[in-house]
């Protein structure tokens, strides 16, 4: 190691190796990702964010929201549940099938179970176990399907329904994955909190909405102005001690409105080939009630779902 050129070549090839591995190869693999079909629905995903939300991403970037909020849901595993949706016409056969797939079940419980359908019969199975159970039930004339359920601490916390995947971000610049969770994850914030007014009040004075919040107030996104003839329809409704002096009103600036539009566009729970999940009847309803998009996304009784799901179920 006494020659300059040798040293140069060594350093050059070492760096070229890492450049090839982590710049060029990933670019070839995921640099050209396109929209794709949602599993079981003829809808393209993801859709580009609306213009106002895209302006909101600029506000998000400029004020470093990603320094404290991540936008990535982690998942530790995928399990299968068995959903029983109809008992069929042969109750004794279905009952014996039920005892077969769920050995500890007592007879009254089984009858109770059949009378309150649809029902999440089994939870947390491996794909092949779930497939066997479904086969047994279907042979008996009942109607059962396998539901794919992602699990993990983030999902249990309600931060998302499935893990984040590369495709969720193809239209974003900059991609704000974040590196820390000083505040909660925002990948699905519009699913948890779809109220624009809540977001505006939270940005103006975080502790009004979340007691003890460590988030700084973003009052510079709002404007305090004198009420002229009549109050603005956009004026914030605030409690008296946090509100403006009498005769004044607080109105969100365009930046605040754009930022809230962006936050309300954050939702990544569509079932995809690379991140499958099944929206179950009942289970999906809790999160989806006030989100209009959920209605299109839930293939609850679409038979296509069971055709599409075997991607990671080798038993079929």
């Amino acid at each position: 190691m006494n020659y300059g050129p040798l040293l140069f070549l060594a350093a050059f090839f070492a760096l070229a190796g890492s450049w090839f591995g982590f710049v060029l190869t990933p670019q070839a693999q995921i640099g050209q990702l396109q929209q794709t079909n949602i599993l079981g629905a003829p809808t393209l995903y993801p859709q580009a964010r609306p213009g106002l939300a895209r302006q909101g991403l600029e506000v998000y970037r400029a004020n470093g929201c990603a320094d404290c909020h991540s936008q990535q849901v982690r998942q530790s595993a995928t399990v299968c549940d068995v959903l029983l949706s109809a008992a069929g016409t042969n109750p004794p056969a279905v009952l014996s099938a039920l005892f077969k797939v769920k050995p500890g079940l007592s007879e009254p419980d089984a009858r109770q179970c059949l009378s309150s359908l649809p029902q999440r019969l089994l939870e947390g199975l491996k794909p092949e176990e779930a497939d066997t159970a479904v086969k047994v039930l279907n042979v008996a004339g009942a109607k059962a399907v396998v539901a794919i359920v992602p699990v993990g601490p983030d999902i249990a916390r309600g931060w998302g329904k499935r893990r984040s995947v590369a495709r969720d971000f193809i239209f974003d610049y900059p991609v704000a994955l974040g590196s820390q969770r000083i505040g909660p994850d925002l990948a699905n914030i519009s699913m948890r909190q779809p109220d624009a007014g809540w977001h505006l009040r939270h940005l103006y004075a975080p502790r009004l909405e979340v007691k003890g919040s460590a988030m700084p107030p973003y009052r510079f996104l709002f404007e305090m102005r004198k009420i002229e003839r009549c109050p603005s329809p956009d004026a914030m409704v605030l409690p008296r001690d946090a509100g403006p002096p009498p005769g004044y009103e607080i109105v969100p600036k365009p930046e605040a409105i754009a930022l809230v539009a962006y936050l309300l566009s954050l939702r990544a729970d569509a079932p995809l080939f690379e991140a499958p999940l099944t929206f179950a009847p009942g289970a999906g309803a809790a999160g989806g009630t006030n989100a209009p998009a959920a209605a299109e996304l839930t293939p609850t009784n679409a038979p296509a779902a069971s055709d599409a799901t075997p991607t990671n179920a080798p038993a079929k």
Binding site: M1, N2, Y3, G4, L7, F8, A10, A11, A14, L15, S18, W19, G21, V23, P26, Q29, I30, G31, Q32, L33, R61, A62, N63, G64, A66, D67, C68, S70, Q72, R74, S76, P153, R157, R163, S164, A166, R167, D168, F169, Y173, P174, A176, L177, G178, S179, R181, I182, P184, P206, V210, K211, G212, S213, A214, M215, P216, P217, Y218, R219, F220
Partner: protein
Amino acid sequence: MNPTASSKPATAIGLAPSEIDASCRLPLLVLLMSGAAWLVIASGFGLISSIKFHSSDFLAGPAWLTYGRVHPAASNAFLYGFCLQSGLGVSLWLLARLGRTSLAQGWLVTVGAIAWNLGVSVGVLGILAGDRTGFETLDMPGYATPMVFLGSVLIGIRGALTFHQRREQRLYVSQWFLFAALFWFPWIYSTAQLLLVTFPVRGVMQSVIAWWYADNLRVVWLWLAGLGAVFYFVPKLARRELQNRNLALCAFWSILLFGSWGGIPNSAPVPAWMPALSTVGTVLTTVALLAVGLSVWKTAGRGGPAGASERLPLRFVLFGVLAFLGAGFMRVFSSLPPVSNVTDLTWFGPAIEHLNAYGFFAMVSFGAAYWILPHLMGLEFPWPRLARAHFWLASLGIVLLAAPLAIAGVLAGLKLRSPDNAFMDVVRATLPCLRVSTMGELLMALGHVAFLANLAGLAARFYRVRAAAAFSSLTLDVYKPAGAKP
């Protein structure tokens, strides 16, 4: 083992150290002084952003003082203003000294340093104005970076020329590290800049490149430049030959081959081979950590008694090596999937970054500056007590900053595993640690003021002596009797 390892010439090849120092004086003074000034600015911003965690209404009014702007301003001022700048300065001096040649076209280095500082100033102001790019460690807006790049190329080419013109043909280990670092930065910086800002790539590719860049800068560059200085200063200050060249070679190769593959978090929404490969690379850097630890321990552990002027720089450098090992092993540990499930996306990551960039790199740079500058100027530092105080403030400060953050990270990570812990409880659990870390930032900031004061005092003393000499020679010219030659 390594006959030419000692930096003192056995035979008189090349220039005398005083001539080399004279050629480095102005460029190095500009690089190190402005580095120290950026350090003070960075710690001011860092203190503000740290205080915001426990009183979030603190300075919440103006947009430019919001956390999401002050925090990247602090980290970029520290990284680009101080770390890279003083690292380049020390590297140039080492390349000149080890090659026994003068710094090639030193005035161009000064021009490069001015361009660099202009770029960083524009960049930090841009971040405060809300123009940050949104990619961590590459936050400076696109209109500032060409100047930074120009500065790095000007300085880098002078470094390569100095290396090329060396009179001592046999290479010392530090030269490998420094040469690789000189050429690494323009490559990763231009790649990241072109693919993230100028012609942005699509989707999470942005994050992949940003992680790759950040890891190559914070790990490969800082390690190469920092260890280059460590392998020079430890043998020199401990007055014992480096033990030994093969260990250093081992560290060099494992940093180049494995260190450059780190940085992709295990939880990232990318194809699984990337985090897997990244974990393998990170775990293999253990070789470098062991080699450096062993080599420094064998060299300094049995070194002769350091003289008074060597004791303080040696203390800084040895503290840096300890922090290097601490940060390196924390990094290896937290790249393993069972651990990263807890530590990813928590304060553990910033704890490693602080320990690595500050505890290791900045401390080694301080040690180098305290050794180089008195030789460059031919003067002692005006306030040696302040310099000793700087060591204690900085070392206590970084311990009080990194340790609580690491604890907060593990605490929060463990609590987030169970959905029964409300998120606000997790936040509250980390607050005591964050309070202690603000104390750490405060101590470090005080230390930086002491450092800047000493540097400025030294420069002022040097130029006062020169001005007095020039003045007296002028006045002597006027009053000297006709015909009398001195």
